[in-house]
Amino acid sequence: MDMKQAKRVEIIIEAVMERRVGQVLTEAGVTGFTMLPVLGGSGRSGHWTREGGVGRASGMIAVICLCAPHRLDRLLDALFPVLTDHIGVVSVTDTQILRAERF
């Protein structure tokens, strides 16, 4: 199987920033990404859960995107100003992908 090296960027961020993060990723040339709801967690502000919540203020989402290694710096540079004041975590891991021409 022909596997290629890629970067997997995982962004856990406040749900209110969903649209803005999607816009930044697209502008940085990352046209494919996945957004997932986050059920709850724990951080500097303590434990939290989305159960029973109706507003978006305290919700978080996970954004996962795969990109070619040479696109990573541009992506992180674009993301930083959006994420800097908000609650969230960004992690980057090395991964391997099939059908590299799609990224």
């Binding site: 209110v16 649209r19 803005r20 303590g46 109706v54 908000h86 609650i87």
Partner: protein, 330 residues
């Protein structure tokens, strides 16, 4: 006084409030009772849909009242003005609260809690006190102006806490097109257009099950409020609690005055009083996360949801209805 005590007694023993109390108690006791987010959202959508449609149908059956425009304007003025009062009061009562946090909190107290308004509507219906149907439109109009005042208060000190990522469009979308506003106003206008015939069509769905859904939703809100109360321990001091209990009364006084000035009915005055006394915990917190991300969300959510909402629901509403009845009757 007798009326206040009677209403308070009836209110505290109503299933809606008892379910809310059950939710708070369960959360404080760390029970695993919880509602999936999707069900909670579904119930809130149902309540907004029902209350909006009923308000519109009521306007259609009574005819378009010229008082609508004045009432909306009165609500907008209150929403713009109350954050300044809340800001001054919070800074005076708790000087350690930062300018940014005080501005964010102030925005919540100028805006409205639609669930408190829904609970008031159920109470007015139970008491046989009619209110102007267009108070729904007033509620919708009061959501956004307070956010503008809060942002002005925050940026005045040069502490916008902005995202650095041009949040302007995002913010305005969050303020003006948030789902609650769109559904509430949309249902209201559909109610106005379809009138009594539309009401007859939807009545089995939006009238009979309404109280049951409200009770279930308030059980969920009790759980959320209880969780906020638990989280508030490290954030909220006694002085801040004092603010959370006194600000609704100040807002209520302003709402009573405005309602009387506008010549609203007893139900209408009670509605405007409740709107002015309540604090937002759906629309404004989301807007504040976009516009003022450095403001502490634990502070404004704990205040609006953990302190002011339970106060209004249990003691505030009977007080506001009794005062509104006294003013309209006198």
């Amino acid at each position: 006084m007798d009326l206040i005590l009677t209403l308070a007694g009836q209110n505290l023993l109503s299933p809606v409030i008892l379910f809310f109390a059950l939710g708070v108690a369960a959360a404080l006791a760390r029970s695993d009772l919880s509602f999936p987010e999707a069900i909670a959202k579904g119930m809130s959508l149902y309540l907004l849909f029902a209350i909006g449609f009923k308000g519109g149908a009521s306007v259609a059956s009574h005819g378009m009242d010229p008082g609508l425009v004045l009432a909306v304007l009165g609500g907008v003025v209150l929403s713009f003005a109350l954050p300044f009062v809340a800001y001054g009061l919070l800074r005076a009562m708790a000087p350690r609260v930062s300018v940014l946090d005080a501005a964010a909190v102030a925005g919540h107290y100028g805006s409205i809690s639609i669930v408190t308004f829904v609970a008031l509507s159920a109470m007015l219906t139970a008491q046989g006190i009619p209110a102007e149907g267009y108070m729904i439109a007033v509620a919708a109009a009061m959501e956004a102006p307070a956010i503008v005042s809060a942002l002005w208060l925050a940026t005045r000190g040069g502490k916008s806490g902005g995202t650095g990522g041009a949040p302007g469009t995002e913010l305005w979308r969050e303020i003006l097109l948030n789902g609650s506003i769109v559904l509430l106003l949309g249902s209201f206008f559909i109610g106005v257009i379809s009138g009594e015939r539309g009401m007859a069509d939807l009545e089995p769905f939006i009238v009979t099950p309404f109280k049951g859904v409200l009770a279930l939703f308030l059980l969920d809100m009790g759980l959320v409020a209880g969780r906020e109360l638990r989280a508030a321990r490290g954030v909220v001091t006694l002085r801040i609690v004092g603010f959370g209990l006194s600000m609704p009364l100040i807002g209520a006084a302003a709402g009573l005055g405005m309602g009387a000035l506008l010549g609203l009915s007893a139900g209408g005055i009670a509605a405007l009083t409740t709107l002015a006394a309540s604090a937002s915990y759906i629309a404004v917190p989301a807007a504040m996360r976009v516009a003022l991300p450095r403001a502490n969300p634990a502070l404004y959510l704990s205040l609006a949801l953990g302190i002011t909402f339970p106060f209004n629901l249990t003691l505030g509403l009977p007080l506001y209805v009794a005062l509104a009845s006294a003013i309209a009757g006198g």
